[in-house]
Symmetry: D2
Subunit: 155 residues, 4 copies
Amino acid sequence: MSAEISKDQVREMLANLFENQMPFHQLIGLTIAQFGQDAIELKITMKPELVGNVLHGILHGGVTATMLDVAGGMIVFNQVLEDMDVVTLEAVKQKIQNLGTIDLRVDYLRPGRGTEFTATATVIRAGNKVAVARMELHNEKGDHIAFGTGTYMVG
Amino acid sequence: MSAEISKDQVREMLANLFENQMPFHQLIGLTIAQFGQDAIELKITMKPELVGNVLHGILHGGVTATMLDVAGGMIVFNQVLEDMDVVTLEAVKQKIQNLGTIDLRVDYLRPGRGTEFTATATVIRAGNKVAVARMELHNEKGDHIAFGTGTYMVG
Amino acid sequence: MSAEISKDQVREMLANLFENQMPFHQLIGLTIAQFGQDAIELKITMKPELVGNVLHGILHGGVTATMLDVAGGMIVFNQVLEDMDVVTLEAVKQKIQNLGTIDLRVDYLRPGRGTEFTATATVIRAGNKVAVARMELHNEKGDHIAFGTGTYMVG
Amino acid sequence: MSAEISKDQVREMLANLFENQMPFHQLIGLTIAQFGQDAIELKITMKPELVGNVLHGILHGGVTATMLDVAGGMIVFNQVLEDMDVVTLEAVKQKIQNLGTIDLRVDYLRPGRGTEFTATATVIRAGNKVAVARMELHNEKGDHIAFGTGTYMVG
């Protein structure tokens, strides 16, 4: 039986996992700027490889979708974590393995112009089997680039 | 005034543009296997950088979303092209600049296991302002990995 | 302990329940034309009360959404039923109570002109907790009025 | 050429049209509680005919979808109206005829328990061809029943 760990430790571990051990996140430069009890904040710095439209020099819609999906999944995991009574490494691993995106909607509001993009998320439906989150993407000026809605399997 | 070009020439140009001049497509290795009057087929070969889950070794959901979005956009562009009476480079450029994803839904059906993934798409609503496409992602065994639905601005 | 019943009997019961004991279905005139092992077919006959736009005399988008949601829910239930080993009234009731729409996307393709509308559905993701269905609405001429995608809680 | 009318007059006319001359709205008892420059509020009082589940006595998901779709359409129309320089009856009629739902997503958060339901909406993407709105449905206790996202044709 594995020993108990704190929820803050779990968040730190997960942030580290998502930032440093997920090859696709490293490929695009996704970083976890904040992952606390109430909030998730992912960041990405614009670079030539992320451009989707050479004429306009804007962020590829696939990067936007990726950031929103990951932000939603992490905030949903956080909800699962907050609902756990006993937190062990074993139990957390199990929860992470159960987590998966069922469906995702992205609403592209404005062209993705900017130098740094930030994704945030909140849980709108918490459940022990399925959870739903809403996500947002803004650029460094606060322009609202995209909205997302994701339904996730959690149990 | 620019000279007329054939629709097949336009598709070839666009396929080349999407495969070789879109930095994000090159980053993930997206290729245009087929782009004809009735069909679009995008392919991607699995590589470590595209993995979303190191435990399971499956395709990142963001890559899935990217492939579906691009497949939908290209088949919708093809519809716009087929509806053009006079095809000049100038007119085609204008059409490409007008094209943009308004919203995208991805339904993740199965974990993205496989060595090669193929995205296809069909137009379900053709219009001179807005078009809607449905997309599919399969692996090399024919397993159905994901469905997509995208609404695109076209005019 | 309740006695076993056949799956066909269950479908007949459910069709009867949905057609005759769901007040909203009676209000709009929703009928279950077919509910077999592989298919669901809901029908509605146009009547003045279902018009959403008096100028155009077309079906209200809310009726379209309703038909698609119900068709998806029934085909998903059918999947649950087919997966049951022992079918008792008690077990079926439990399954019906667990069933619920998590999210629904409707793509309105054409104005809802016509005298009779038919909704059909297929399961695209079967699971013991969550299932996803795709739905279609056609009029009596076979014009494709709308597409739907629904994610349902099933367990 | 028709005479100019005020934007408040237009909103009043539209509220009246939607409440009293849309047969489906009267069938379900949809009323326009508020329609001002910044806000739309639709209400519906629970009645037996709107029940979707006789066991639980909850609002049918199709009614929820209807309310969200209408709320989104009205707030989007309001945006179109606010963007008009010269407001004549003729021009307004044209705008209403152009308005149509392209796609709608409904997220069902909680069972629709309650005696009165209120739908509200805000525009998240304003455009001269396409607009996107987000909608919410609450019951009389303030419980959040559903979220919606709708993409509308406006021009």
